[in-house]
C-alpha cells in the first residue's frame, strides 16, 4: 500500500534527534508492548508480514503522530481482533468473556521456552529448488506496481533501473504471505540503485542505495 510508512525520500519529517545513553525501553509500558507482541506472535495466528501490515494500516495522521510502541500497540490490538483471538467487546471492556480455546492456550509462550525462541528465531529462507530469474551483474528494473496490500518494494525504487549485486537465495514472499496467500517462495536479491537514477541530477555524488527485492518485484531491463 502507498502508505506513510513507506517514507524513503520524503521531505519535512524533521531533524534526527539522537539521545545519548538511551534506555532500551523509555517507559515500562513500551517493554510490555514489545513483549506482548512477541508473546502473542507465539500463538501463531498471524505471520510476521501480517504483523508489519497491521502497523502500516494505522490511519496515516495517527501513524505519523504516534511513537514507535504506540504503533506496535495499535497493530497488536488490530491483529488480536481481526484474527478472533479477542473480541472487540473484550478489547473495549478490558475483560474476558471466556477463556481462549485450548488450541490457542496450548501455544502460550512459557518462560522456559523464551530463550530458545529468541535464539532460534523464525524461518524465512526456503530450501526449494527454484531457478533464479536473475544473477549478480544483471540489469533490472523495479516494477511499476501499486498494490493496496503489503509490499516490500518501496515507492522510491519503483520504475527505476538497478543492478543485481548479489542473490540471497530463496525466501518467503512477504507481499503474498501478508495477505494469507501462502509463502510463494522465490529468489531474493540485493539490487543496487545509483543515487542519480533514484533522485535525479541533483542527487548527492558517489552514492547508491541497495534494496532487497524478490523476483516478483523485478523485470529485465
Amino acid at each position: 500500500m502507498n502508505g506513510v510508512h513507506d517514507m524513503g525520500g520524503m521531505h519535512g519529517l524533521g531533524p534526527i534527534e539522537r539521545e545519548e545513553q538511551e534506555p532500551v525501553f523509555r517507559h515500562p509500558w513500551e517493554g510490555r508492548v514489545y513483549a506482548l507482541r512477541q508473546g502473542c506472535g507465539a500463538l501463531a495466528r498471524w505471520n510476521i508480514d501480517m504483523a508489519r501490515h497491521a502497523n502500516e494500516r494505522m490511519p496515516a495522521a495517527e501513524y505519523l503522530a504516534a511513537s514507535y510502541y504506540e504503533r506496535w500497540l495499535w497493530g497488536l490490538e488490530t491483529l488480536l481482533a481481526e484474527n478472533g483471538v479477542v473480541t472487540s467487546w473484550e478489547l473495549t471492556e478490558g475483560r474476558a468473556k471466556g477463556p481462549a480455546p485450548d488450541e490457542l492456550r496450548q501455544r502460550v509462550l512459557r518462560p522456559e521456552a523464551v530463550e530458545r525462541r529468541l535464539r532460534t528465531g523464525g524461518s524465512y529462507r526456503v530450501e526449494a529448488d527454484i531457478a533464479p530469474r536473475f544473477s549478480a551483474g544483471d540489469a533490472v528494473s523495479a516494477r511499476n506496481i501499486h498494490p493496496t496490500g503489503h509490499t516490500r518494494l518501496p515507492r522510491y525504487a519503483r520504475q527505476h533501473l538497478g543492478v543485481v549485486e548479489r542473490g540471497h537465495g530463496v525466501f518467503i514472499f512477504p507481499d503474498a504471505n501478508a495477505a494469507g496467500l501462502g509463502h510463494q517462495p522465490q529468489h531474493l536479491y540485493s539490487v543496487r540503485f545509483e543515487a542519480q537514477e533514484l533522485w535525479g541530477p541533483n542527487a548527492e555524488p558517489k552514492a547508491a542505495v541497495y534494496v532487497d527485492l524478490w523476483d516478483s518485484h523485478l523485470e529485465t531491463a
Binding site: G94, R152, S190
Partner: protein
C-alpha cells in the same frame, strides 16, 4: 509499574499505560500470555542482547583475518561462531567500510534491525526523519550526525526491506595496533555498526 507523570484526570498512569495494562490483564485472563515469559523477553533485551555482541564480532574480524574473510562471505555462520543467533538475525550480511566505501543501514518501511548483534533499535533509527532522509541525502544525514565523509568515498545505503539483516564492519582506527581484542571491543559503538559513526581511536592515541 512506576507512575510516569501526573495525568490530568488524576490517574497515576497515562492513557497509553492504562491501555497496555488493560490489554495485558485481558490476555492473562484469557490464558494467552504468561507474564513471567513477558518479563524474560524484556530482560533479554535490557541486559543480555545488545551492541556488545556486535562489538565482539567486529573486534574479532579486526584481529583475525581468516575470521574476517568468513564474516564477509557468510555473515550468519561467522556470527553464529561467537554464539549470536536467532530472532531478527536469521540471515546476516556484513558490509565492510574502507577508506573508499562507507556503508550505512536503514529500514525505510519499518524498523528492521539485527537484534542478536545490536539489540533493539534506538529511537532515532526508527524515527520518520532518519527513515525518510538517509536514502535521499546520506551524506547530509551523516554530516548532521557528526560524520563528514571524504568526497572521494562512495556511500552505500542498505535498505532492510527483507529478512536479511545488515551489520557494518567499521574501519579499525589508527593507533590501535597494540590493543588486545578485548580492548578493541570496548571501542566499538552501536552507531559505528549501523554506519552513522566511525570508531574513534582510544583517547590516549588521539
Amino acid at each position: 509499574m512506576p507512575p510516569s507523570h501526573d495525568h490530568e484526570h488524576g490517574s497515576r498512569f497515562s492513557d497509553v499505560e492504562l491501555r497496555v495494562k488493560a490489554l495485558e490483564s485481558l490476555l492473562v485472563e484469557k490464558g494467552l500470555v504468561d507474564p513471567e515469559a513477558l518479563n524474560q523477553l524484556i530482560e533479554a533485551y535490557e541486559s543480555k542482547i545488545g551492541p556488545r555482541n556486535g562489538a565482539k564480532v567486529v573486534a574479532r574480524a579486526w584481529v583475525d583475518p581468516a575470521y574476517k574473510k568468513r564474516l564477509l562471505e557468510n555473515g550468519t555462520a561467522a556470527i553464529a561462531e561467537l554464539g549470536f543467533t536467532g530472532a531478527q538475525g536469521e540471515t546476516m550480511v556484513v558490509v565492510e567500510n574502507t577508506p573508499r566505501v562507507h556503508n550505512v543501514v536503514v529500514c525505510t518501511l519499518c524498523s528492521c534491525y539485527p537484534w542478536p548483534v545490536l539489540g533493539l533499535p534506538p529511537v532515532w533509527y526508527k524515527s520518520s526523519a532518519y527513515r525518510s532522509r538517509v536514502v535521499i541525502e546520506p551524506r547530509g544525514v551523516l554530516r548532521e550526525l557528526g560524520l563528514e565523509l571524504p568526497t572521494d568515498a562512495e556511500v552505500r545505503v542498505w535498505d532492510s526491506t527483507s529478512e536479511v539483516r545488515y551489520l557494518v564492519l567499521p574501519q579499525r582506527p589508527p593507533g590501535t595496533e597494540s590493543m588486545t581484542e578485548e580492548q578493541l571491543v570496548a571501542l566499538v559503538t552501536r552507531d559505528a555498526m549501523i554506519g552513522v559513526a566511525q570508531v574513534l581511536p582510544p583517547r590516549s592515541a588521539r
